[in-house]
C-alpha cells in the first residue's frame, strides 16, 4: 500500500483538512511507514464480527426528552446570532 499524492488529496478531503507542501511530504512518509507496519493484520484469515457494540440494545435508557440545564451556556463557545449558531452564508 502506498500513500501517493492522489490518495493524500482524498484523505485531506475526507478529514476536511488541508496540508501544505512540506506537511504533505512528511505525512505521506509517516502514513506509508505506519500502513506498512499495520499491514501485518492481513495475516489474519478470519474476519471478526463487524460493529461489535460493547452494550446490548436493551440496556439503553428510555428515549425521553429531558430539560437541558443551561441552554444559553451551550451557545457561549460559538459565534451566534438570535440564539442560533452563525456560519458563512450558504445561499445567495
Amino acid at each position: 500500500m502506498t500513500v501517493d499524492n492522489g490518495l493524500l488529496t482524498q484523505l485531506e478531503a475526507l478529514g476536511k483538512l488541508s496540508l501544505d507542501a512540506e506537511e504533505r511530504e512528511r505525512f505521506a512518509k509517516d502514513l506509508n511507514e505506519i500502513l506498512d507496519y499495520v499491514g501485518m493484520l492481513s495475516e489474519l484469515s478470519s474476519d471478526g464480527e463487524d460493529g461489535v457494540c460493547p452494550v446490548s440494545a436493551d440496556s439503553l435508557r428510555a428515549d425521553e426528552a429531558a430539560p437541558t440545564e443551561n441552554p444559553e451556556a451551550l451557545l457561549e463557545n460559538a459565534e451566534t446570532a438570535d440564539g442560533c449558531f452563525r456560519v458563512p452564508r450558504t445561499v445567495e
Binding site: 500500500m1 500513500v3 490518495l7 493524500l8 482524498q10 484523505l11 485531506e12 475526507l14 478529514g15 476536511k16 483538512l17 488541508s18 496540508l19 506537511e23 505525512f27 509517516d30 502514513l31 511507514e33 505506519i34 500502513l35 507496519y37 499495520v38 499491514g39 501485518m40 493484520l41 492481513s42 489474519l44 478470519s46 474476519d47 471478526g48 464480527e49 463487524d50 461489535v52 460493547p54 452494550v55 440496556s59 439503553l60 435508557r61 440545564e69 443551561n70 451556556a73 451551550l74 457561549e76 463557545n77 460559538a78 459565534e79 449558531f85 456560519v87 458563512p88 450558504t90
Partner: protein
C-alpha cells in the same frame, strides 16, 4: 500537633483526609500547600494548563464548613485533586491541550466531576496532556511539553503527562487522567507513581472528550494503590448518561486490603520478554515476579502469540474512531474558527487545519483511510478481528491465572525531543499497555525500581474484567513489599 506545609504534600490522599478529619490540618491549609508548590514548580514542569486558585480556596472554605457540620463526610473529603484537561469541568476551560479548544469553557460537568465534588474534593486545576490524548510523550500539547520531575530533560510520558508529573512532584496528591492505550499507566511508570486503568465501562465517560470511544476510560494517578482504590470507589458505578457504563458493577472497596497472596496465580507471557525490552526493565520485571512469590503467589509463563497484533489493531481502531469523533471540530458550535474562511466549506477545512496539531491530523487521516471504501475490509475489519482474538486470549489466560504481570513500557522515559520525528517508533512503545484497552480489562501500573540513569521503572498487573478489588489488593500488597 499541627502539620507543616511540607508534611502536607508528602501525605497520601488517605492520610491527608484523615488528618483533616482529625483537625490536624484545615482544608484551606491543604489547598494552600499545593497551590504554593504549583506556584514554585509549575513554571518549570508545566503540569497545569489552568490553575483554579480562587475557586479552590473558596471551595476549601465551603468544604471545611461541610465537614465541620457533618454534611460532607466522604472518605476523601477535603483532599485536593487535579484533572486532566480532557474532562469537562463546568465554567472552567477544558482545552484538551489543543489550539482547537484553547478557549473552550465546558458548559457542564463530567459525571466524575460531579462525583468528586459530592465527595468533598477540591479541584486545583486542569492538567497538561498530549493534544486530544494522542501521544505517548506529552510533547504533542499545544501548551508545551511536561517535564519529568525526576529528570526535567526527560519526558513525563503521555498522554496524561501532567497528571503523572503533578503527583510525582507533589503538585497534587491525586489526579484523574484518561487511558485509551496506556495514557494513565505509561506516564505513571515514567514518573514513579501508581496508575489505574479501570475495566472498560466501570467508570462513566460522560463528559470525557472522546478520542476512541470503544477504548477510552477515565483512570486515576495516585501516590499508591490504596489512594487509587479510594478514588475509584468515588468515581465508579452506573450512570444513565453513559450507555456503556455497567449497571451491574459495584466496587467492593471494603474488600481491598494488602494481604498474603498465597494461592494466587500470576502469569507472564513469554512474548513480554522478547519484544525489545531494555535490560533494566526486564530485570525489574523479574525482580517484581520474585517479590510476588515472596508474598505467596505462584509465577508461571505462558504463550500469547496474539501480542504482535496488539499495536496494529489498536492504532487502526483508535484512529478510525478518532476520525469520526473529531469530526465535531468544525468551527461551528465550539472551538477554533478560522478568520480566513469565506465559505462554509473553507470554515470547516481552515478551522480544522489551523486548530489541530500534527499528530491529531495524522491520526484523523489514518482513520479516514482505514474506514474508506476499498480499505475498510483490509484494515478496519482485520483490526476488529485482532481485538476479538486478543480479548479471547486474555479470557483464556484468566481461566488459569488470577493476574497477568508485564512491563508497562519497553524502556524508561525518553529524552524530550527524541520521539516526535518518528511516530511509528512512538506507537511501538505502547505494546504492553494497549492490550488491556483492547480486552477491556483493568490494569495497574506500579513503581518497582529504577534504571541505571535513576529513572523510574514500573510493572503492570492486569486482572479479569471488573476484578478491580482483587487487582488493587494485590497491588497494595506489592507496594508494601517493594518498600520503595
Amino acid at each position: 500537633m499541627r502539620c507543616g506545609m511540607n508534611d502536607i504534600t508528602k501525605m497520601t490522599a488517605l492520610e491527608l483526609s484523615a488528618a483533616i478529619r482529625q483537625k490536624k490540618i484545615s482544608v484551606t491549609e491543604a489547598v494552600n500547600a499545593y497551590l504554593d508548590n504549583i506556584e514554585k514548580l509549575n513554571p518549570e514542569l508545566n503540569c497545569y494548563i489552568t490553575v483554579c486558585r480562587d475557586e479552590a480556596l473558596s471551595r476549601a472554605a465551603e468544604v471545611q464548613s461541610g465537614i465541620d457540620s457533618g454534611r460532607i463526610c466522604g472518605r476523601l473529603a477535603g483532599v485536593p485533586i487535579a484533572i486532566k484537561d480532557n474532562i469537562c469541568t463546568k465554567g472552567i476551560k477544558t482545552t484538551c491541550a489543543s489550539k482547537m479548544l484553547e478557549n473552550f469553557v465546558a458548559p457542564y460537568n463530567a459525571t466524575v466531576i460531579d462525583r468528586i465534588n459530592a465527595e468533598g474534593m477540591i479541584i486545583l486545576g486542569k492538567l497538561n496532556m498530549d493534544e486530544f490524548a494522542m501521544g505517548s510523550t506529552g510533547e504533542t500539547s499545544y501548551f508545551g511539553s511536561v517535564k519529568n520531575p525526576v529528570n526535567p530533560e526527560r519526558s513525563a510520558g503521555g498522554s496524561s503527562s501532567g497528571a503523572a508529573a503533578a503527583v510525582a512532584a507533589e503538585l497534587a496528591p491525586i489526579a484523574l487522567g484518561s487511558d485509551t492505550g496506556g495514557s494513565v499507566r505509561q506516564p505513571a511508570s515514567y514518573c514513579g507513581v501508581t496508575g489505574l486503568k479501570p475495566t472498560y465501562s466501570a467508570v462513566s465517560r460522560y463528559g470525557l472528550i472522546a478520542y476512541a470511544s470503544s477504548l477510552d476510560q477515565i483512570g486515576i494517578i495516585g501516590k499508591n494503590s490504596a489512594d487509587c482504590a479510594a478514588l475509584f470507589d468515588v468515581i465508579s458505578g452506573a450512570d444513565e448518561r453513559d450507555m456503556t457504563c455497567s449497571k451491574e458493577f459495584a466496587f467492593d472497596y471494603n474488600s481491598v486490603r494488602a494481604e498474603n497472596l498465597s494461592g494466587k496465580r500470576i502469569g507472564i507471557a513469554n512474548e513480554f520478554l522478547n519484544v525489545g525490552l531494555s535490560p533494566a526493565v526486564k530485570q525489574n520485571l523479574l525482580d517484581s515476579a520474585k517479590r510476588f512469590e515472596t508474598l505467596g503467589a505462584s509465577i508461571d509463563y505462558f504463550d500469547l502469540p496474539e501480542l504482535k497484533y496488539a499495536v496494529p489493531a489498536y492504532y487502526v481502531i483508535a484512529c478510525a474512531e478518532a476520525s469520526s469523533n473529531l469530526a465535531r471540530y468544525d468551527g461551528v458550535r465550539f472551538g477554533h474558527r478560522s478568520e480566513a474562511a469565506k465559505t462554509l466549506d473553507e470554515m470547516f477545512v481552515f478551522s480544522r487545519s489551523e486548530g489541530l496539531g500534527d499528530e491529531v491530523r495524522r491520526r484523523i487521516m489514518l482513520g479516514s483511510f482505514v474506514l474508506s471504501q476499498g480499505y475498510y475490509d483490509a484494515y478496519y475489519k482485520k483490526a476488529v478481528t485482532a481485538k476479538q482474538l486478543i480479548t479471547k486470549a486474555f479470557e483464556k489466560a484468566f481461566e488459569r491465572y488470577d493476574f497477568i504481570l508485564s512491563p508497562v513500557t519497553p524502556d524508561t522515559a525518553p529524552v524530550l525531543g527524541e520521539s516526535l520525528g518518528n511516530p511509528l517508533k512512538m506507537y511501538l512503545s505502547d505494546i504492553y499497555t494497549v492490550t488491556a484497552n483492547l480486552a477491556g480489562i483493568p490494569a495497574v501500573s506500579l513503581p518497582c525500581g529504577y534504571d541505571g540513569n535513576g529513572m523510574p521503572v514500573g510493572i503492570q498487573l492486569m486482572a479479569k474484567r471488573f476484578g478491580e478489588a482483587e487487582l488493587l489488593s494485590a497491588a497494595t500488597a506489592f507496594g508494601k513489599e517493594a518498600d520503595l
